[in-house]
Amino acid sequence: MSKRNPEYDFKWCPGCGDFGVVRSIELALADRVMRLKEPIEKTAIIAGIGCSGNLVHLQEGPQPYGFHGIHGRALAIAWGTKAARPDLNVLIVCGDGDFLSIGAEHIGPQAKRNVNITAVVMDNGIYGLTKGQASPTTNLGVVTATTPYGKLEDALRPLDLYMALGVSFVASGLSTRPRDLATLITQAMEHPGFSIVHVQSPCTTYNDTYEALKGNPEKGIEALAHPVPDDHNPADAEAARQLIAMPGMPVGLIYKKADSIAMNERLEEARERIKVRTRSVDDMLTALEV
């Protein structure tokens, strides 16, 4: 139930990681409003469909613009918005199914365009809203509603994919650390180009990975998540690739292209360089007169 709208009838389950994500976005936006003196209405958050996407209805405090669209298309909608309105700060929030399964086709194009959008991916390794089917990041062998023999497909490695596609800003976060996550989101929003903050946001109902991520010394479970080492140079793509190839889940800023130029700037530059002349419709018609 959101403060804004007590009638809103959706709730996340107790302990759901998404609570931490919404908090971190609230923090990052509040900070942005303060520091940049930019009205919150300059931000538009475009959501996919999933438990995750309900975030746009569940924000507390001052509200940005929102768009809760259709499954898998948040990034494509966001492209349309950002290209039309480069002055807006455009974010998307998606689940792992939404972003990496049905919506996977949209990542490459935005990476190649380097469009200035920030994607916050809430990865719980499961389809939450539809009640527990396997997602691309569900691990091999895991039994879910749709994998009664255990999952027979390998898990996708999202960070590898982002790097191969040339995403110009790649970070990895944890919903359990909303302040750190807020910092990453802030950096992502300020990066000139396409940025992805891939967040581990566990689903307590269908795929509770808290223990695996944080570890449990009593049970002898080692933590999967570990901070990005201090000496990692995020401007070094090769170092980033090596970092994510190591076992475990690095948390922090993985890669940030140094000389990133966002699509809209590249376009302006090209128009300038080529001295594109804008013909009026009147001129076009005159050229066709018989």
Partner: protein, 569 residues
């Protein structure tokens, strides 16, 4: 002396038929004639049967012409396929290199390739053919020379040489025709044109209309026969705040224009059937979230990959209901090249006015043909959505009918929502809210029921009412029927859905509404019947436009079948 000249150039892809037809058209418009071209070819880059034709007339042209005055056959297969369309007394120009025995009748055999080589430009065979046609029709040579100069001036050092070669080739053709002693009925002197005229293709004209209507952003994925719109936009929709993007798929394109419309900008995409089939969910999103945007569908033959380079009017049912759930997408279908410009403006205006998606349904035959049309009036009203000043707070979906549109960046932050939602866009599943919001969405269509329409001989109880590109042939047939004394009426509108309210009322009073349309199902007549109109289709699904003569026959038969006797006559 005659009013009309129809010339067809037929052969294999790569022999320059389309260029020849366009050259003839351009020269003829300079003389002051009306023109219309038509071309058909397979979906490929090289080879295959291709033909292109030009109709030249002293009067407004409604069809490409049923019968040929001149056939230019560039190979034997073309000769065999098309000779049946040559009228009695028409002239055949054929490639004597390809044929061993010359056919009978008025024929001119030219080894155009050999002759072209002699002019120093082996690729000018088609220009020789144009020369021959120009001479047969007694059209002044100068206009053709002008056309050659314009076409081959490309800022390269070899330009002059190529131009000279082509001018020579033109002369070769003229001489050959002169030598033959044949001629077609020379055309009457063209009437002095009223106002300025332009020669333009449907897709280009449509694009200009959209730009004139204030289009800001365009996202599209290539597909025949819509690609030329994307290419036109890439070249011409520029300047501050404008953006054109090649999408990675139609699914990305539809989502992007919804994002563009949401941002407060006027947005558009263009596609053909296969792309439209991928856009249903996104169009539904625009309907549900109330986002203005325009989707151009340039129809080709379907379903699936279908007939990418043929014309058909078979996407109508899909256009009206492109996705699941209750919606009825407004559809505007231009009936000629001339209507493409205003149709685009109307589509953009409708989207802004009712705050939702509009489909602009055009078709291959209109998209790609050249026509001379009056230079359009740039004073047509341009509409913009009513924009929120923030005083409504976030109540974007409050009440029945349109509400001011909150533009991101300004006060009034809400959630645009494709799930059922309350006033401020938060998801809800309350039965009464779904009822209210559904009625809200449909109520806005009322704002679009005042479109213009044509009505002629409105006392008649039987009317013809074609749609889209079948308008021209339909009108030609209608004119002939009326001239023959048949008591039949005429209705036409480009506003397919919602129909102009007054027109629908009129149609409901008719005993029979005959709908010529290029599809198997009789799509528009079935829609009309569902609206309570006694409608019946004349269908054709060959991938080609109607011929006037066929429509005349079919209409007479429909009338006869209905009443046992001919109405009127």
């Amino acid at each position: 002396m005659g009013a009309d000249l129809v010339v067809r150039f037929a052969g294999e892809g790569g022999q320059g038929q389309v260029t020849a037809a366009e050259g003839l058209a351009q020269a003829a418009t300079r003389v002051g004639y009306h023109v219309q071209t038509f071309a058909t070819y397979p979906s490929q880059i090289e080879g295959g049967p291709v033909w292109a034709q030009t109709r030249v007339s002293t009067k407004e042209i409604l069809t490409q012409g049923d019968q040929l005055d001149v056939l230019v056959a560039l190979n034997r297969q073309a000769y065999e396929t098309h000779i049946g369309d040559l009228r009695d007394g028409g002239i055949l120009i054929y490639n004597s290199r390809d044929f061993d025995t010359a056919p009978l009748g008025k024929v001119i055999g030219l080894d155009a390739e050999a002759l072209a080589r002699e002019t120093g430009n082996p690729r000018a065979a088609n220009v020789i053919m144009i020369g021959a046609v120009a001479q047969l029709a007694l059209m002044p040579q100068q206009y053709f020379v002008d056309w050659i100069k314009e076409r081959f001036t490309r800022g390269r050092p070899s330009d002059q040489e190529i131009i000279d070669g082509n001018v020579k080739a033109l002369q070769v053709g003229i001489d050959a025709a002169t030598a033959s002693g044949y001629s077609v009925d020379p055309l009457d002197t063209p009437p002095t044109p009223e106002g300025k005229r332009i020669l333009v293709q449907g897709n280009a004209f449509l694009s200009m209309g959209a730009i004139h209507a204030g289009l800001d952003v365009f996202y599209g994925y290539p597909i025949s026969p819509a690609t030329t719109i994307l290419v036109f936009m890439e070249g011409n929709l520029n300047g501050p705040g404008k953006f054109v993007g090649q999408a990675s798929s139609e699914i990305e394109a539809i989502a992007a224009i919804v994002g563009g419309g949401y941002s407060g900008r006027k947005s558009m995409t263009s596609t053909a059937g296969p792309g439209l089939s991928l856009m249903g969910e996104g169009i539904g999103l625009a309907w549900m979230a109330e986002i203005p945007c325009v989707i151009v569908d340039v129809q080709r033959g379907g379903p699936a990959t279908g007939l990418p380079t043929k014309t058909e009017q078979s996407d109508l049912l899909m256009a009206l209901n492109p996705g699941h759930g209750d919606m009825r997408i407004p559809v505007i279908a231009p009936g000629s090249v001339a209507e493409c410009f205003p149709a685009a403006i109307h589509a953009m205006n409708w989207a802004e006015r009712y705050q939702g998606p509009v489909i602009l349904l055009t078709e291959m035959s209109i998209a790609e043909r050249n026509e001379d049309v009056p230079r359009p009036d740039l004073d047509m009203p341009i509409e913009a959505r009513v924009v929120s000043d923030g005083s409504m707070g976030n109540r974007r979906y409050a009440g029945a009918g349109i509400t001011p549109f909150p533009v991101p960046g300004n006060p009034g932050a809400y959630v645009a929502n494709g799930s059922e939602h309350d006033e401020q866009g938060d998801t809800t599943h309350q039965p009464l809210v779904h009822v209210e919001q559904t009625e809200r969405r449909f109520s806005k269509l009322k704002l679009l029921e005042d479109g213009a329409y044509e009505s002629d001989n409105s006392a008649a109880s039987v009317v013809m009412m074609p749609w889209g590109g079948s308008k021209g042939p339909g009108r030609a047939a209608y004119n002939r029927l009326r001239a023959d004394g048949i008591d039949i009426g005429w209705n036409y509108t480009m506003f397919i859905s919602p129909l102009p309210a007054a027109l629908l009322e009129e149609l409901r009073t008719k005993d029979l509404v005959i709908v010529p349309e290029l599809n198997y199902l009789g799509q528009f007549s079935s829609v009309l019947r569902s609206l309570g109109v006694k409608a019946q289709s004349i269908t054709q699904y060959t991938g080609l436009p109607f011929k006037e003569g066929y429509l005349v026959e079919q209409v007479l038969e429909a009338i006869k079948a209905r009443s046992g006797k001919l109405v009127g006559a």
